[in-house]
């Protein structure tokens, strides 16, 4: 088996605040292969964005810090890189696209300036060549009138256009990994699908692996190979998209799926919601972090912290004490019958 592109092992990123230590990411491990499309799903505050920021080493001490763990990228631990080496990685080998395109571009420089800056930083090219690469990049993301776009400022473009520019910027140096942090959340629904299609199509062309961070299971279903669900700073379930949707093993995943309106199922079912609010990452509940919101909690859930273990189909893992005894899939059906 080939070495994975990215291997995260027992990553813990904590923030210190006046109220106490926030365990934003608390011991997660996963791997990402070349050209894989991995979806990371979770509510706000589940630690998915912090995971991405940790990989990019964008967490700034002393506010937050990667406390332990390794992030092995192409065989080397990113956490051991010095700042100069890390700068080559960022934008060059791992690119990142952020949630809000309205504020992600510097308002005082033109689109062309900002694209060319990235290109000239990571590729040994002249200004002229950089200009041409930037022009192609804008054409690639299907923005008409690329030449005149080079001279425009971000505020003259719509949100969707700006996100296209961000994608162009992210992919302009042919990175091995593209981290997209809720890239379409701030856009309206019709643009969302276009942007996702465009991004993944371009990533495939370049052989770039994509790590898609989202709270939207629908997006994951449509665009990802594998998915992992995060809750309270940890991964509670991982598997292929097919496994997770057909046979959720963790009550939280089950809850999330229940809140999703599905078009592909013939019978209608009532939408469920996960009750309560995400846990405070300062005072975590004892045992399983999902326990206070879980409909199936028993005594053991308060006593022991559940680790990820195989459950369900091969390759599928879940962090629930009762994963093997609960048949969540059939509970759904029962509910539908009673409803």
């Amino acid at each position: 088996m080939a070495e994975p592109l990215l291997e995260v092992n027992d990553l813990r990123t904590y923030f210190s605040t006046e109220e106490g230590i926030v365990r934003a990411v608390d011991g997660i491990s996963f791997t990402l292969d070349r050209q894989e499309r991995l979806g990371i799903v979770g509510e706000s505050g589940s630690g998915k964005s912090v995971t991405a920021m940790s990989i990019m080493r964008l967490i700034e001490p002393p506010a937050g810090e990667v406390v332990t763990g390794t992030i092995t990228f192409k065989g080397r631990n990113l956490l051991e890189y010095d700042e100069a080496d890390m700068q080559d990685i960022r934008g060059g080998q791992i690119a990142m696209i952020f949630q809000d395109p309205m504020t992600a571009l510097n308002p005082v420089y033109t689109i062309g300036d900002q694209l060319m800056e990235t290109i000239m930083l990571h590729q040994k090219v002249s200004r002229k060549e950089a200009y041409d690469i930037a022009l192609t990049a804008i054409e690639d993301v299907q923005i008409p009138g690329a030449k005149s776009r080079m001279e425009t400022y971000p505020h003259e473009l719509s949100g969707g256009m700006r996100q296209r520019i961000m994608i162009a910027m992210g992919l302009s140096c042919n990175p091995d990994l593209l981290i997209a942090d809720e890239p379409t959340t701030a856009l309206d629904v019709t643009t969302q699908a276009q942007i996702m299609d465009l991004m993944l199509h371009l990533a495939d062309e370049r052989g770039t692996a994509v790590m898609l961070i989202t709270h939207d299971l629908g997006v994951v279903a449509g665009f990802c190979d594998n998915v992992q669900v995060m809750y309270g700073g940890g991964i509670v379930e991982k598997g292929t998209v097919g496994q997770l949707f057909a046979n959720p093993q963790h009550p939280y995943t089950w809850g999330l799926l229940g809140s999703l309106a599905r078009m592909d199922e013939e019978e209608q079912h009532r939408l469920r919601s996960v009750r309560g609010a995400p846990p405070s990452l300062i005072n975590l509940p004892s045992g399983c972090r999902f326990r206070p919101r879980c409909d199936f909690a028993v005594d053991v859930c308060a006593q022991a912290f559940p680790l990820l273990r195989d459950s369900g189909e091969p390759g599928q893992e879940s962090a629930c004490h009762r994963a093997n005894e609960l048949d969540l899939k059939s509970i759904v059906q029962e509910e539908e019958v009673t409803a």
Partner: protein
């Protein structure tokens, strides 16, 4: 109101069952916690309280008459006597007790600061709210007027007014000669900034969902303004007002320093610094130092308090790292 309380109680019950109950924190508690944590602001509040008490209670305390010269045993005037036991801050050129002059001088400063602050707070909030709540011609004309007032350079105009106030015959003497006249003047010249800020707050708040919701629920204009918008605009109002109080005290002192403020023999900090500066070249430093210190410490306290209030009132500052 009843239904929200019901929901809140239900949630608390839920939390309690799940062992996640949290002490409910009101905005007021948060405000106090944050303000108390701002140590400089607390010290400043203490200093200001002390100053106000001292100035108000001065006639009851054993201070010399600030306008009366001190005499020694042989009946000679004690001119320019340095600080010593009994005359802690020394005496001035006319033999008057500097300590008592500094204390009584605080009167003018604090009255000017307080009255100007009250005036600016009222006018600025009023004009700003009206302009912000009634867009169109009302807003336009009020804002043009505000721009005009803001366009007037404070000190050059204040100096003119300070100069001519005592000469205006038809003004009652408590306006012409006292701190009230100066305060009225400064108040009328400096409400523009606050009006603009309040208007901007109103413009953004009136479009917010909770105001829409209140309107949809049938709340009338008065209720919307006083219950939903103004409480949210309170932070900039307080912060701007404290800023203006500090500036007013400085400008009053500057007018007195230039000889266009409250006329002598009434003591003012500006006047004390002016006279102190003249005699400090001869080595008689105490008037300059004590008068100047009183002024700087007061304004500094007001500014620190304002800073503390801003931090405490800022609802976005929930978890800031120390």
């Amino acid at each position: 109101m009843t239904d929200t309380r019901g929901a809140g109680e239900r949630l608390e019950e839920l939390d309690a069952v799940e062992g996640l109950a949290v002490e409910p924190i009101t905005q007021w508690d948060l405000f106090w916690t944050r303000l108390r944590r701002h140590r400089l602001a607390m010290v400043a509040a203490g200093v200001l309280t002390f100053m106000v008490l001292l100035v108000v209670l001065a006639p009851l305390l054993p201070f010399e008459d600030p306008t009366q010269r001190l005499l020694d045993d042989t009946g000679r005037t004690l001119r320019n006597i340095g600080p010593r036991g009994g005359i802690l801050f020394g005496t001035d050129e006319l033999g008057r007790d500097v300590l008592s002059r500094v204390v009584y001088g605080g009167r003018a400063s604090l009255i000017v600061g307080g009255v100007t602050g009250a005036l600016v707070c009222t006018m600025g909030t009023l004009v700003g709210s009206i302009a912000g709540y009634y867009p169109g011609p009302v807003d336009q004309s009020l804002m043009r007027f505000t721009d005009l007032v803001l366009g007037l350079p404070l000190l050059p105009v204040a100096i003119v007014v300070g100069r001519i106030l005592p000469d205006v015959e038809w003004l009652p003497s408590w306006v012409g000669d006292g701190p009230i006249g100066i305060a009225l003047l400064l108040g009328f010249l400096s409400w523009g900034g606050l009006a603009r800020i309040v208007r901007a707050e109103f413009l953004s708040l009136r479009e917010k969902e909770f105001v829409e919701a209140a309107r949809a629920a049938g709340a009338n204009d008065r209720r919307i303004v006083f219950r939903h918008i103004l409480p949210n605009a309170i932070s900039p109002i307080i912060v701007q007002t404290t800023l203006i109080v500090g500036i007013a005290i400085i400008v009053e002192a500057a007018l007195s320093f230039l000889g266009f403020g409250i006329p002598p023999p009434t003591p003012t900090w500006g006047g004390i610094v002016s006279e102190g500066g003249r005699i400090a070249v001869r080595g008689f430093w105490w008037q300059l130092v004590f008068g100047g210190t009183a002024l700087v410490v007061t304004v500094l306290s007001i500014n620190f308090l304002g800073d503390g209030l801003r931090d405490a009132l800022d609802p976005t500052q929930t978890i800031e790292r120390k």
